[in-house]
Amino acid sequence: MLSELLQGTDTGGFLIVQDNISHSGRPLLKSFISAALNRDEDVHVLAFEASEEELKDGLQGLPCQRLHIHNAYIDPLGWTAHPAFTVQQFCFEELTQLAKQTSQPKPATLVIDSLSWILRHLNPPHVCKTLQQLRKGGAVRAIIGLLHADMHQRGTVGSICHLATSVIAVSPGMKADEAVAKTTKRAKSGKVTQDEEIFRINEDLTVVVLNKTSHPGPKQTDQEEPEMDPTANLTFNLRLSDTEREAKEKLALPFVFSKEKKMALLQSGPGSGRILYEPDANDDYDQEDPDDDLDV
């Protein structure tokens, strides 16, 4: 599913790369940037956490005129006279303006590195609202955000991920260059698909999906025990002979109604009471068969 998402998130998509202290999600984010550049899309990066050089490292061979980095790394809070981008500018109007600056009429992809930084400085409802407006606004084709899950309260992470169409949670793998990605994708119809994959990121930022981790299914007991008859060496008799079985079947069990007994109870014999009834004009007679729901 990871390679599927890399090939292009659908319009209006919102993808979150969720990482934690033990494994950084930035390499995967850069893979997404390079994949979008390879598709000839405009990419706007809001860089709060990494410098421009660090972000461009590895993207040299690509058409970089499509890559627009809005540097908020140097002065994120606007302390100098001419900040490039500040955290206060993270609102719908400003970002739409930014996305429309590019010459191409095609909507661009917005990459946020990282959402955690923004959430530290703006209140979560405002961030959620802005993200939702951007998705619906049409100026941005897709949003890809990096989120450090261990930096925020669980509710905040949950609220942000609740808005996302896809969430990729990365965690360290068994080997040094491998990582595990747990992907949750929500289709527009409400269908949810989940997948867990091991992947590796090459030097040129291509992602290689190594194998799907097997789901902890029902474990097969490997050693087949030879089938043995537990009734072989018994100290008592478990089997019935024909005469014994006959005797067993003759036995009348308590609380068992035989057919004769049932019929005797249902059919009234002579001397018992009967109900005689003559229909009256004022009778409230129900036309419906009261027993039509019975399976008789």
């Binding site: 209140n123 979560p124 409802p125 959620c128 609202k129 939702q132 407006q133 619906k136 309260q153 669980r154 509710g155 905040t156 949950g158 609220s159 609740h162 808005l163 949750t184 929500r186 409400g190 269908k191 949810v192 989940q194 789901h215 902890p216 299914g217 043995m228 537990p230 009734t231 072989a232 060496n233 018994l234 079985r245 079947e249 069990l253 308590p254 609380f255 068992v256 109604f257 729901d293 399976d295």
Partner: protein
């Protein structure tokens, strides 16, 4: 709820007070008859269907007019949205008026996805096919007679259903036709389209919620859904569907922090909503993303302010998905609160372990009931292993530890 019914009865009784005798035969027709409603069997309150037959049964016949049903959303909001859509679709079919409010999706998005009603189906509720036991005794030789005492007991009916039919069935795979949908009068509230001006007055309620409440009150007053409204025209029911209330998109930080700044915003809104509903012919379904709300005390307060409360717990993404016990179901349903309307004691559901599944033509809530496990392999294997391990230490197995056979 009884209030609207009573007052209507009173007003109609006054109209006919010029009758010669004071004696009046008590008849059903004195109750207001609105299509898609019926009086409750227990307390005579006017009920509407939720659109899900088994949920109606669970709530004691249906949703009483003037009450709020709270649905705690499942993790991915797929099934809770389904129930909301069923509720609205039932309103469309019964020609009730709708009020849809959302902050995330436009109300039209929700309305377009309404399931298609199955109108021409027969009312017969087919009994759920019992799963055939793999080792069903066929010949009399092996017929089990040990449990003879239980042979006359009825089989456990897992599906919840009442005898009489109320509400309609829907086909989830098909969308409702546009002309049916447009026949119903619908009021929409989409939060981004309502510019919320920050009011100078310091009120505990958020602007988004007060705008919603104001819009609701306007609709109720304008369209004459109040109980006190003149009886000049035929009455109708207003069905209110509020999607994902309390989420961050409503501007509420309820989900984000343990001690939210607007902790009283949603509860204040619910008080207002309840006051509004109690005095009008309307009924509301509210969904809340409770899995995001960290503060349980706050969630409890929200539950208390609604009349009915159910919680959906989807198996999607949880380890329960692989559990063979739940293989037939899509999730669990917890009943958090049942309504106490004009009484001290309320009718409780007879069964607490409930599960739901979404089939193409039905969203059904069933009793979680375990059939007897008669297959040879399932439990006996573990028993055998257990005996094997016990044998190593036990004295009676010491002599024949190599040859594994039955020991007592």
């Amino acid at each position: 709820m009884a209030a609207p019914v009573n007052s209507v009865v009173n007003s109609s009784a006054k109209c006919s007070s010029f009758n010669a005798t004071s004696f009046q035969k008590k008849t059903r027709s004195r109750l207001i008859s609105i299509p898609g409603t019926r009086p409750s069997v227990q307390n005579g309150q006017l009920l509407v269907s939720t659109g899900v037959t088994s949920l109606d049964y669970l709530l004691g016949g249906g949703l009483a007019v003037g009450t709020v049903l709270l649905i705690e959303e499942d993790r991915y909001d797929s099934y809770s949205r389904m129930i909301l859509k069923y509720f609205l679709a039932e309103g469309v079919v019964c020609r009730h008026e709708l009020f849809v409010a959302s902050a995330q999706h436009t109300p039209d998005d929700i309305l377009q996805e309404l399931p298609s009603p199955i109108l021409d189906d027969v009312a017969i509720h087919k009994p759920v096919e019992q799963p055939r036991l793999s080792h069903e005794p066929q010949d009399s030789l092996d017929a089990m007679k040990i449990a003879w005492r239980y042979q006359n007991l009825p089989k456990v009916q897992t599906a919840l259903a009442s005898s009489s039919r109320f509400g309609h069935y829907y086909d989830v795979s098909k969308m409702m036709e546009a002309e049916i949908r447009e026949a119903a009068k619908c009021h929409r509230f989409y939060l981004p389209e309502h510019p919320t001006q920050s009011s100078p007055t310091h009120s505990p309620m958020l602007e988004s919620y007060s705008a919603l409440l104001k819009s609701l009150r306007d609709v109720i007053q304008r369209e004459g859904f109040e109980v006190t409204a003149p009886m000049s025209k035929s009455r109708n029911i207003l069905r209110i569907g509020l999607h994902s209330l309390g989420s961050t998109l409503w501007g509420d930080d309820l989900c984000c922090h343990d001690n939210p700044r607007h902790g009283h915003a949603l509860t204040t809104f619910l008080y207002g909503l309840r006051a509004l509903l109690r005095s009008s012919l309307s009924v509301a379904v509210v969904t809340v993303p409770s899995h995001l709300i960290q503060n349980r005390a706050l969630m409890g307060r929200i539950t208390r302010l609604c009349d009915n409360a159910i919680a959906l717990e989807s198996f999607k993404g949880s380890e329960r998905e692989a559990n063979p016990l739940y293989k037939d179901y899509h999730g669990l349903l917890h009943v958090r609160q049942v309504p106490h309307l004009n009484c001290l004691a309320s009718q409780l559901p007879d069964h607490k372990d409930l599960a739901f599944k979404l089939k193409r033509k039905q969203f059904s809530i069933e009793r979680l009931h375990l059939p007897p496990d008669l297959s040879e392999t399932v439990s006996r294997v573990s028993r055998g292993e257990l005996a094997g391990t016990a044998m190593v230490g036990s004295a009676c197995g010491s002599g024949t530890s190599g040859n594994k056979h039955l020991d007592f």
